[in-house]
């Protein structure tokens, strides 16, 4: 590998770099000017070609930026090479011309909507055109890189200059993605800036906000509220708050011939990005009777997590995160010893690599993540929904495993309850490109419409 990471982006300067308001102003003005010259003038087809060519590059084993990302990724992010590779491969496999066109159709009703006025076959008497903001600032969460990279893709589709602000120590993979876009088309790459600093730096952020027509942010409800109140009145704000996910397994699914496959799928969901994404499960609820299906599911899950640790290790986590796991395990050790009928736990030996907690209490419990998963027995779906009532407004994905004839009723019940995404277990952290984040539009929240009545 003979690729050196050039200093194209502010984040390339390293975590010690200090920025001034003047530097941010200059960066924003440059982005806007580059966008005007290089991005606003391209049509949708050209943008799709650049994105899909970049994705194709990432899927080549010898693509230098992929190689460097996989090589340096573990030290930079804490995720193991296997975890990063699996996550990136899935993202780039679904990022192609076909899926991007599907996305545009779904969101804007017409592929050419961003190129000029046009009408879908259901629109009569007018043509409409959509325009993206001149500049978008993304305040990224930094827990996993994919949402940030996807935001960049959406911003490119609507032809916006983009400033991506990452928390300290979390820009590496989005930065490599920005480099790959630069590698495909340097003019398009010059419409993107990536920087990292500790959030809450009002001087830098307010400068950035003044130059942005739109700000997106992922974070706690409190931090989103703070950001929103600092924005100029005309700036559009898209906030993505707390979301949690869980799985539901019926007796039919766990007792059927696909049970072994189901366990592997469930572990896929737990190990994907070490459970740190909003779509990762905190809990698998398992429909149970006197047959101890949930207990068996938990035991098998532990066996598979142990096997997976060899092939796809979790990697190193912070002392704080390890302390959280150790503390939670210590509590469950007492519960399991003292009340073994209602609680049991299985843990990796000599490390915090993986943990399975079995409980009969159906109350929703937030996991410590990093491959720490609850299995809760439940008599039926209704009890799950009662137990999860406290997170009802924050549920993103429910992964389900059920017999074919059970699925439709389960989906209807979950949709009415408030879940915004339902998918098979094993695909929780692998949403399609057209997945509506938090049940909201992807592109149509970003654009401004112009209707031309004829």
């Amino acid at each position: 590998m003979n690729f050196e990471i050039p200093n194209y982006f502010l984040a390339d300067l390293g975590p010690e770099a200090e920025f001034t308001e003047n530097m941010i102003t200059q960066a924003a003005l440059t982005l806007r000017s580059n966008r005007e010259r290089f991005l606003a003038v391209r049509d949708t087809g050209a943008i799709i070609r650049i994105i899909s060519r970049t994705a194709d590059n990432w899927l080549e084993d010898d693509y230098p930026i992929r190689e460097i990302t996989l090589e340096k990724g573990p030290a930079e992010t804490g995720f193991s090479r296997a975890t990063i590779q699996a996550g990136l491969d899935h993202f780039f496999e679904r990022l192609n011309g076909e899926t991007l066109e599907d996305l545009l159709h779904q969101e804007l009703g017409h592929l050419k909507r961003l190129d000029g006025p046009c009408a879908s076959r259901w629109e009569t008497g007018k043509e409409s055109m959509a325009s993206g903001p001149d500049m978008i600032t993304h305040i990224a969460a930094g827990n996993i890189p994919i949402p940030t990279m996807f935001s960049i893709v959406l911003g490119l589709l609507v032809r916006s200059a983009q400033f991506i602000k990452c928390p300290i120590g979390s820009s590496f993979i989005p930065r490599m993605f920005a480099h790959s876009l630069y590698d495909t088309d340097s003019k398009i790459g010059s419409c993107i800036e990536v920087a990292e600093w500790k959030g809450g730096n009002e001087a830098l952020e307010d400068t950035l906000f003044r130059h942005s027509e739109c700000v997106t942010a992922t974070g706690s409800d409190k931090s989103l509220d703070v950001i929103q109140h600092r924005l100029p009145a005309k700036t559009r704000f898209l906030g993505y708050g707390h979301q949690v996910s869980f799985g539901y397994v019926t007796k039919e699914a766990i007792s059927g011939y696909k049970a072994k496959r189901l366990i592997r799928d469930a572990v896929d969901d737990v190990v994907a990005w070490n459970q740190l994404g909003c779509l990762s499960p905190h809990i698998f609820y398992v429909e149970d009777d006197a047959s101890d299906w949930a207990l068996m599911f938990a035991r098998k899950l532990a066996e598979e997590l142990e096997r997976r640790e060899t092939a796809d290790p979790r990697g190193k986590i912070s002392k704080e995160a390890a302390a959280d796991i150790a503390s939670r395990r210590a509590m469950y050790e007492v519960r399991a010893a003292h009340m073994p009928n209602s609680s049991q736990q299985w843990c990796s030996e000599g490390s915090t690599a993986w943990t399975v907690i079995y409980e009969t209490d159906t109350l929703f419990q937030l996991s410590c993540l990093n491959r720490f998963i609850y299995v809760k027995s439940t008599p039926n779906l209704e009890e799950v929904l009662k137990g999860a009532e406290m997170v009802r407004d924050h549920v993103s994905t429910v992964g389900i495993a059920a017999a074919e004839d059970e699925k439709e009723d389960i989906v209807k019940r979950l949709a009415r309850w408030g879940a915004t995404r339902i998918c098979p277990i094993g695909r929780m952290q692998k949403p399609p490109l057209t997945w509506r984040h938090d049940g909201r539009p992807l592109l149509s929240d970003l654009v401004r419409w112009t209707d031309w009545e004829q």
Binding site: A141, I325, T352
Partner: protein, 362 residues
């Protein structure tokens, strides 16, 4: 009914040992710890279950430690209900369940013997001082072990002056006007003041003093003792910054600020010995428990003691916890430095934490 005789006997022996001022060798400490653990297993069901699920051990360092958090959901005491005369609650927010550490007359006697001896050695250093606390008084916060402690240490010095109150929502607040008037109530040349408070009560006061540009000059030789975390009760201020503020607002030197580490689930406290310096020459606050309590720093990954200079979770073996559980596993991170430890401050983990709550916008 539980026969408390063995515990009373142990408590009497320990009080004798505390008052003797003698240290304890590792073997002596180990023998006492194993004896007490054995007694506690006999009366406390969850401890018996926990220890029973593990292999038999014969080293005090390997004894099963009860997570402090379990004091919230289990009755971890050898005292029968009729003898639970007093209870200390943890100072969690009102929306969370709080710990329950039960006491009777005998256990409080031991608690106070433990408290006074180590406090005298480390904080007052046996000098006569005037005690002023930023917390509410015992009458307003009867179940706070900290307030109990602050009252008890002042008893022999004419009583502690309490400047805090509990508001309608249960939160503690300092009566600022009374604090400002404090120096005029202390004649010049009088005893030095020992100002006691929690980190969040100091932040409340210091923020207001700064806003109103007030400085309070305490009498020569005065000291400040601060303890505890923030628990969402004020903005969180790094320790070094807090101490700088205390120094400038109260006119005390850095070495006159003493830190305490304690919790309602324990009966002994650790104080910083004020001796540490890190590689850059920066001051480190190294804590030490009295001879009858020991702290181990445990790796969260391996569950074993960490090497010197490494970070882990504090596990405390407090022989003065005779009637409850001696070995307590805390959720506090610390660095091991010989038989002392340095606390690592960390943001309290939110009880409601989703993916984006963990890391966002920081």
């Amino acid at each position: 009914m539980t026969d408390l005789g063995i515990f009373d006997d142990f408590a009497d022996r320990l009080i004798g040992l505390i008052r003797s001022g003698n240290g304890l060798s590792d073997d002596e400490f180990g023998a006492l710890a194993l004896e007490l653990h054995d007694c506690q297993r006999g009366t406390i069901g969850p401890l018996r279950s926990l220890a029973g699920a593990r292999e038999q051990v014969n080293q005090w360092r390997e004894l099963a430690a009860m997570p402090a958090a379990m004091f919230k959901e289990l009755e971890l005491t050898s005292l029968p209900p009729a003898q639970r005369d007093h209870v200390f609650h943890s100072s969690g927010t009102t929306t969370q369940a709080s710990s329950r550490h039960y006491h009777n007359e005998d256990s409080l006697r031991l608690y106070e013997a433990s408290l006074l001896w180590w406090f005298g050695r480390n904080v007052t250093r046996d000098e006569a001082m005037c005690f002023v606390s930023l917390t509410p008084p015992v009458s307003a916060a009867p179940n706070s072990s900290l307030v109990h402690m602050f009252e008890r240490v002042g008893l022999e010095s004419g009583g502690t002056v309490f400047l805090g109150q509990v508001d309608a929502g249960g939160a503690w607040a300092v009566e600022f006007n009374r604090l400002v008037e404090l120096p005029s109530g202390i004649a010049s040349g009088s005893k030095p003041v020992l100002l006691l408070g929690t980190a969040f009560s100091f932040v409340q006061v210091l923020d207001q003093m700064k806003a109103e540009r007030i400085e309070l000059a305490l009498p020569e030789g005065s000291r400040v003792m601060e303890t505890g975390g923030y628990k969402g009760r004020s903005r969180v201020v790094p320790k070094a910054e807090l101490h700088l503020l205390i120094r400038s607002c109260f006119g005390v030197a850095g070495h006159e600020i003493q830190c305490e580490y304690g919790m309602s689930e324990l009966s002994s406290q650790a104080y910083d010995t004020g001796r540490g310096r890190d590689a850059e020459g920066e001051e480190m606050r190294l804590f030490r428990f009295p001879p009858w309590a020991r702290a181990l720093v445990i790796s969260p990954e391996s569950g074993k003691e960490v090497a010197d200079g490494e970070i882990g979770l504090l596990r405390i073996f407090d022989l003065a916890n005779v009637y409850s559980v001696m070995a307590i596993q805390t959720e506090d991170l610390a660095i091991r430095w010989g038989d002392e430890f340095e606390l690592i401050g960390r943001e309290p983990m939110s009880e409601a934490r989703g993916c984006s709550l963990m890391s966002v916008a920081d």
